[in-house]
Symmetry: D2
Subunit: 144 residues, 4 copies
C-alpha cells in the first residue's frame, strides 16, 4: 500500500450482498467488482462521517481517484456477504486516502485495498492545499 499516510481509528463497516452478475464464469466475484465494493465502503464511511461524494460536491469540489490498489486473499461467491471495513488514512498532503479490508460472512479476510483521491474544484483545478471544508472536517474528527 502507499508509503505515506497514517491509519486512523476513524472507520466504518458496511455489508454488501454479492450479486449474481458480480460473479464470472469461474463462479467467483470478478476481480474488478471489488473496486465497486471499495466505493460502497467509502461512501458508507462518507455518509457516517459527513464526507460523502454529495457532501464534497456541496462544497464545490469533486475527489477523483488517482490510484487504486486491490489484493485478493480468497474468493467471494454468489450468496456471500462482503463486509467492507473502510479506514481513513491521515496525510498532510491534499489527498484523501482510504484503506479497505473486505471479509466474508465467516469473518475471513478476502481482500485488502487502498484508494487515493485528490481535490478538484468546480473549475477543474486540482487543489495543492487542503480545501477549507476538508480542513474543517479533519478538525471536527480530531485530526487537526
Amino acid at each position: 500500500m502507499s508509503d505515506t499516510g497514517v491509519e486512523t481509528q476513524i472507520k466504518n463497516t458496511y455489508d454488501v450482498r454479492v450479486r449474481f452478475n458480480d460473479c464470472d464464469p469461474l463462479r467467483i466475484v470478478w476481480h474488478g467488482v471489488y473496486i465497486t465494493y471499495f466505493e460502497d465502503g467509502r461512501e458508507a464511511f462518507g455518509r457516517a462521517h459527513e464526507i460523502s461524494y454529495l457532501d464534497v460536491k456541496a462544497n464545490g469540489f469533486s475527489t477523483p481517484i488517482i490510484k487504486s490498489v486491490c489484493e485478493h486473499k480468497k474468493p467471494l461467491a454468489y450468496g456471500d456477504i462482503a463486509i467492507v471495513e473502510t479506514t481513513f488514512v491521515d496525510t498532510p498532503a491534499a489527498k484523501m486516502i482510504f484503506r479497505y479490508k473486505i471479509y466474508n460472512q465467516h469473518k475471513e479476510l478476502v481482500c485488502i485495498g487502498e484508494t487515493i483521491q485528490v481535490f478538484v474544484d468546480d473549475e477543474g483545478n486540482m487543489s495543492l492545499t487542503l480545501p477549507k471544508f476538508f480542513e474543517d472536517w479533519k478538525r471536527k474528527v480530531g485530526l487537526l
Copy 2:
C-alpha cells in the same frame, strides 16, 4: 415489440467482442449485458448516420430511453462475437425507436430487442413535437 412504427432500411451492423466479465456463473452472457450491446449497436448506427448521443447533444438535446425490450433465443459465451444489427423504426411521434437483432459469429440469431427514446431539451423538458435537428435528419435520410 412496439405496435407503432415502421421498420426502415436504415440499418447498421456492429461487432462486439464478448468480455469475460459479461458472463455469469452459468458461463453465458448475463441477460442485462444485452442492453449494453444494444447501446453499442445504436451508437455505431449514430456514428454512421450522424445521429449519435454526441450529435444529439450538440443540438441541445438528450434522448433518454423510456422503454427497452429484450428477448433471448440462444446464449452467448466468452469467446463469441455479438453481431448487432440496428434498424431505425420510423414513427410520426416525437420518439426514436430502434430494433435490434444480435447474431453470433455463426450467424445464428441470439437476441432481438427494441428501445424507445424521447427528446429532452437542455432545460429538461420533453419535446412533444419533433425537434428541428431531428426533422432535418429524417429529411436527409429520406424519411420526410
Copy 3:
C-alpha cells in the same frame, strides 16, 4: 407487459441504494442498470419465498431469462433509494414470470418491468412441464 399470467399477492419489497457508478453522464441511473435492480428484487423475493437462484440450483435447475421489459417513468439519481416491489405472476406454462415496480424514496413510481424465465435442467434441456420442485413450491404458496 406479457399477455399471459395473473398477478398474485405473493410479493416482496427490497431497497437498493443507487451507486455512483450506476449513474451516467446525464447524472441519472443508466437505463440498463434497472435490469440489475430487477434481479435484486427477484432474488430478495427468492430468499423470502425459498425460490432463489441457489434454491433452484439445489434442485438441479437454472432459470435463464428469456425476456425482459423495462419502462421508465422518472429518473433516479445518486443519493436515491430504489424501492423494488417484485410480484409473482402465475401462469400454467413452464415459466417463471415476475413483474416489478420501482419507486424512489418519495414513493414516486420510477420504473415498471417484467421478466420471463424458463427452467433448464443440469443437462441443458429446457423443461416443457413444471419441474417437480416448482410444482411443490406453487403448492406451498397456495397456487396449486
Copy 4:
C-alpha cells in the same frame, strides 16, 4: 508497481471505444472501468500470443488475479478511444505479471497499471511452480 519482474518486449496494443455507461456523473470514465480495459488489453495480448483465458483453460488451469494497481494521469470521456498497451513482465515466480499503459486518441498517457495472476489447476490448487504449458509458452516466446 511490483518490485519483481522485468518488462519484456512482448507487447500488444488494443483499442477500446469508451462506452456511454463507462462514464459517471463527473462525465469521465469511472475509475473502476479501467480494470475492464486492462482485461481487454490482456486478453488481446493473449489472443495474439496464444496465452488467453481460453488457451489457459484448455490446459487445465485458470489464472485468477491476486493484485491490481491502477494509476490515473488524465481522464477519458465519452467519444474517446482508450489505446491499451499491454506488456508481459517476466518473473521466475509461478505468476503472470502484466503492465498496462493506456493512451487516449491524442497519444496522451491517461493511465498506468499492473496485474498479477497465479496458476490454479482444475482441482483448485495453486501451482507453486510453472505449469508445463506456461514453461512451453515462455520457451516459445524466447524467455526460457
